[in-house]
Symmetry: C2
Subunit: 382 residues, 2 copies
């Protein structure tokens, strides 16, 4: 039996026992496992209802709690039928592509972005086209060109803190993007993956908070905030989109883990979610400062970056005199994981930038990791 | 913004507070919620490892425990890389179609079968063709015709207890099916959804237990046995197939719920899984007898069925003098849910058969439900 051709990439194995100076890995040591066990038990002790078949939209208690949370924390309003619970945000991507696209339809993505979302969209049948970025976000002139010459169904953006560059999309760019979407009739898929982590300036509300036409499809996750091992995300969008996602979800996965979803609903309702967020924000703010200080100390010359207004990583231009790919390779041999720009590039071409993240480690671990990088650069210059 | 056409069916709402004389609904009241809460807490108390990113193949402890279980309970041997944990068996279907099929490739299905699997295969890009059944299982002459005139990649079968007719595939048919698969180069997707519930005669081992060429893709689930709300299934197949499924799974769902998977691994290892199986088997055997007795009492004339060797339902030919669809409609108005044959028919045509299931209710509830059916038939004859 022969198998047809198959192009999906294999996962790179995550190296064990490294200092991972990367952005997307929350510190699960901050997570209150004892409280999760307790909430889980409480839900189960109440009855059998979370153990049977249920709604493909999500456990009703979590839908209610998330609706209230998104309204108060982000100004995103979801009426009945406008919210779906997914497995992390990852599940949203193939479902969205399948709901929005026919063969040949296009989803635009940022030229530097989040490859697992791209693969998800492709899996759902979308053609992808990359649109360049500038310092205000995705370039609207180029997006407009694309809208004119292809069947553009949606654009996927990360406006709060652009993934991976951490740039916040400017207010005029936001207005322009929504106007363009309305004019050309495409959706805006807003991945608000780290809404909780904004460090300076006024909190920026999502695109979905100022979208009377409901052109924005707001995607979020609790996994990145609480623990990646808890696969709970959500999509808020107009009801006709959410209904399609729900139908699709039926045949991929039937429904979520209702017991876990009910437990997390309790956390949203009783304040434990907010307490965790505060705990994490405090820890990450300290780590951010630690990474900035360590980079300042060791790389005042070689790495150029601005402290971003939010997010869990810095985007640094390298003037180290050695390719960032080579630095990453040598660092990994010495137990430090960093991500060169190429990893995030739609065109797969190297660029002399690094994404350096801080959430996963304590200040002293961060200091140690940056020290290793400095030693490598020094040795190579010698 | 206009949406492209979309053909996926909506879920029929499951009616509340009915006596559901259907096959697929295990009784979650038999499930030890207290023990699940305890196992979950035990796993969490050991450390953070189930809360981070992990393997897309499944939690390693569950892979080990399932490997041992499938080997001892079913004679299905899985080497390293030949087993994947999914969300229920449902997730296996779209992943398998996507892994095995290019556009235009065909998966054959049974003419009476399990529509959620069909939708899953379609979602993964397969073309479906139905093959008729006879009393020994899927008809090989018709399957062979199909293999000769189409790009047949796989056939989806339910050999243990055919879904929905409960027929066990005969030994010669099994040998013939594997020989045909080898000759024509297609896979056999064996959905062993209720392996644990065999009532009479020798236990029948799955196709996958006698398949040195590894042409069988063995799909199973713990959800049907334990509780539908726990979405844990698995696929055992040759490594090159499982690797594709794992890569696909990454971009749909990243990974399973590792905490739950580790808890279920403990149950497999410490005997709680077997204790639950015995408990359920005892309860369901009693309910099977209750349904048979109630049908005998009320429908000695109108319904014709054989006690199947296994499974959780009877397949009954109706000679009631009213269409089974009409009976189902009237029954639902009076609080009893039954499934007419049409629901399982690939061609969507009605047939004068009913699937009557017994796992979800106690003997007295079953007796009451059958009484309601009898009263309806009597009133309509009057």
């Amino acid at each position: 039996v022969s198998l047809p051709k198959f192009t999906l990439p294999a996962r790179e194995p995550f190296p064990a026992n490294v200092i991972a100076l990367i952005g997307g890995l929350p510190d699960v040591r901050l997570f209150r496992r004892d409280l999760l066990a307790r909430a889980y038990r409480r839900v189960l002790s109440r009855g059998v209802q979370t153990l049977g078949y249920g709604s493909e939209y999500g456990e009703p208690r979590l839908l209610r709690a998330l609706t209230a949370h998104l309204s108060s924390a982000r100004g995103v309003l979801a009426a009945a039928g406008e919210l779906l619970v997914t497995r992390g945000s990852q599940m949203a991507f193939p479902l969205l592509a399948r709901a929005l696209c026919e063969p040949g339809d296009v989803i635009a993505v940022e030229a530097l972005g989040y490859p697992p979302a791209w693969e998800g969209f492709r899996l759902g049948g979308a053609e992808l086209r990359a649109v360049p970025l500038d310092r205000a976000g995705i370039r609207l002139d180029r997006l407009q060109e694309l809208a004119c010459r292809s069947r553009l169904r949606a654009v996927y953006v990360t406006p709060h803190h652009q993934y991976p560059t951490a740039v916040t999309m400017s207010a005029p760019r936001r207005q322009g993007l929504l106007a363009l979407a309305e004019r050309h009739g495409f959706f805006v898929i807003e991945d608000d993956y780290d809404h909780e982590f904004h460090w300076s300036g006024r909190p920026v509300l999502p695109l979905a908070s100022a979208d009377p036409a409901r052109l924005v499809i707001h995607v979020g996750t609790l996994s990145k905030l609480l623990a990646p091992g808890l696969r709970v995300g959500y999509v808020s969008a107009r009801a006709e989109v959410v209904e399609r996602l729900a139908r699709l979800r039926m045949f991929i996965d039937r429904q979520g883990d209702q017991t876990l979803e009910a437990a997390l609903a309790e956390w949203l309702d009783d304040g434990e979610f907010d307490r965790h967020t505060k705990r994490a924000r405090r820890a990450y703010a300290e780590r951010r400062d630690a990474l900035a200080a360590a980079l300042e100390q060791h790389f005042a010359e070689g790495l150029e970056f601005e402290l971003p207004a939010g997010g869990l990583s810095f985007w640094a231009r390298s003037r180290l005199g050695m390719p960032v790919e080579r630095l990453a390779e040598l660092a990994l041999e010495r137990g430090v994981l960093i991500h060169p720009a190429r990893r995030f590039a739609f065109d797969r071409r190297p660029r002399e930038f690094l994404r350096l993240g801080f959430p996963g480690h304590t200040p002293s671990e961060i200091q140690k990791g940056v020290g290793v990088l400095a030693a490598i650069v020094k040795a190579s210059a010698a």
